[in-house]
């Protein structure tokens, strides 16, 4: 992939994201390794990491619930869905559950405006949400994990 670009660092943003998906988060070791491969300093890589909202340096729960509360979702109850998730999981914004299974995050527009309210569960879109649908999703994951 890195051969597509005239400079080595051009591959940085997708590389960070893909490595984060593999490792779980951008650990010091991961950042160091990426810096070496792109011929940058660790600091230069951290500088980029801190800019992008999907990149993170700390591990999070296995299932990341990203609830959109931006305007189109707001109009159709996005904030209520987010509130419901908080109560259901017993966590606040950007927190993981104690068992490390879930992470909850309020996010900006994810491009599901006509099918609001919506969220992403890791990379999967879930749209036209209701509190019941959210419960089903969460219970479904809990059951799957127990088996």
């Amino acid at each position: 992939m890195s051969t597509h670009y005239p400079t080595k660092r051009s591959v940085l943003v997708p590389m960070l994201l893909y490595i984060q998906d593999e490792v779980g988060s951008l650990t010091d070791e991961a950042i160091h390794e990426i810096a070496q491969r792109t011929e940058l300093t660790d600091l230069e890589v951290r500088n980029v990491v801190s800019y992008y909202s999907m990149l993170r340096t700390r591990p999070i729960g296995k299932y990341n619930l990203q609830v959109c509360t931006n305007v189109s979702c707001l109009l159709r109850g996005g904030e209520e869905i987010f509130q419901h998730c908080k109560e259901k999981l017993g966590v606040g914004n950007k927190q993981s559950t104690a068992d490390g299974l879930f992470y909850l995050e309020e996010v900006e527009c994810i491009g599901a405006c006509s099918w609001a309210p919506a969220m992403q569960l890791n990379y999967d879109f879930h749209e036209n949400l209701t509190p019941e649908k959210v419960d089903e999703l969460i219970e479904g994951i809990r059951k799957k994990v127990q088996q």
Binding site: V13, V48, N70, V71, L74, R76, C109, G111
Partner: protein
Amino acid sequence: MAYLVSHPDEVKVVSKRFGLDATNLDRYLELDGYKALQKAIGMGPDAIINEMKASNLRGRGGAGFPTGMKWSFVPKQSPKPKYVLCNGDESEPGTCKDRLIFEHDPHSVIEGVMIAALAVGSKTGFIYLRGEYRYLIQIMEKAVADAYARGFIGKNIFGSGVDLDVYVHSGAGAYEVGEESALMESLEGKRGIPRIRPPFPAVVGLWGGPTVINNAETLASVPHIILGGGEWFANLGTPKNGGTRLFCMSGELKRPGVYELPMGYNLKKMIYEVSGGMVDGKTLKGVVPGGSSVQILTPHEIDVAMDFDSVMKAGSMLGSGGVIVLDNTMCIVRFALRVTKFYQHESCGWCIPCREGTDWMKKTLTRFHAGGGVAKDIDNLKYLAENMLGRTFCPLGDAAAMPIISYVQKYRKEFEDHLDGRPCPFGKVAEPALV
């Protein structure tokens, strides 16, 4: 998954292949796929640009700049390689159209990128998708690989002697990267901070080479223009506003969804006929016609033709085509606060009017909505926004300021109803969670 809707008034051009399994290359070929590219190879650069100019196609990302003209700014001779960059970092609140194009018709974007590359004499195209659209990145990567396997992309395409490469690139979550110069920074592996202009990307862009940057919908329209002719496309719309547009209808509507309608279609009809009107029990309070960055229109102002010039005349902007419909149960202060929180979160922090202005507006609105507002706050908000306008590096500052000015101007009474420690008349206090 995002479901498709349809209405008899729709004119399907870009959405022609939606729902027809066009991600499959064989199926795409049956549906006239890659014919436009072959035709464009025979036409040559000047004829392609002339056809684009005749089509009156204007950029679908939001600014509405004529595409043919943009392409013609690229110098013919350049010591550095030229590039074509497809902006698929769709993140304007209220906009969900590019997603459908990538999902249902990925090859049309590739074809558009390649035709643009032929027109400006570039050998490399990049398709930048936002990182959240992982499933679309997979669809696009497969589409590109399939096209390479058939020899539609790569060396000597269709025996023309032209070499052309197309790559898919992923972002990692940033609204600001949708701005063209920040997009280039991001693609170069840096923080998405805008560049000063001039020089414009058409002269000095990616890695210093001349670069054409177009929205995904713009590029997906290109093959249809090449096949159908610029004049045919121009006649679908209104003067100076050629073709059709994907309008993303959202809010408490009976039939929300993405509809492809001719440019200049009436906004009132779009809401009451195409989208079926408001859900039962709710009435219309206002319409944001082009994504969260534009001015709101009151119910008296919505009898307007949806093309760039008419909406501008009505005091707003056509923007990205995201039509957000507010109902009577939504508090305008709460709405303003949510919009401002978004811009505060997404401001890249590079220039001060935007970084400090959005933060100050957010703090004021948070306090105001919670009942701690004083009368002076209302004018202060407007004053603050007016002083951000035109004073920032990139349009994000304007995008944060323009809607706030319009909310205060048009719904001042509702702001006043929050004064004197009175709780929000709509009974909901939004807690600031995103900080």
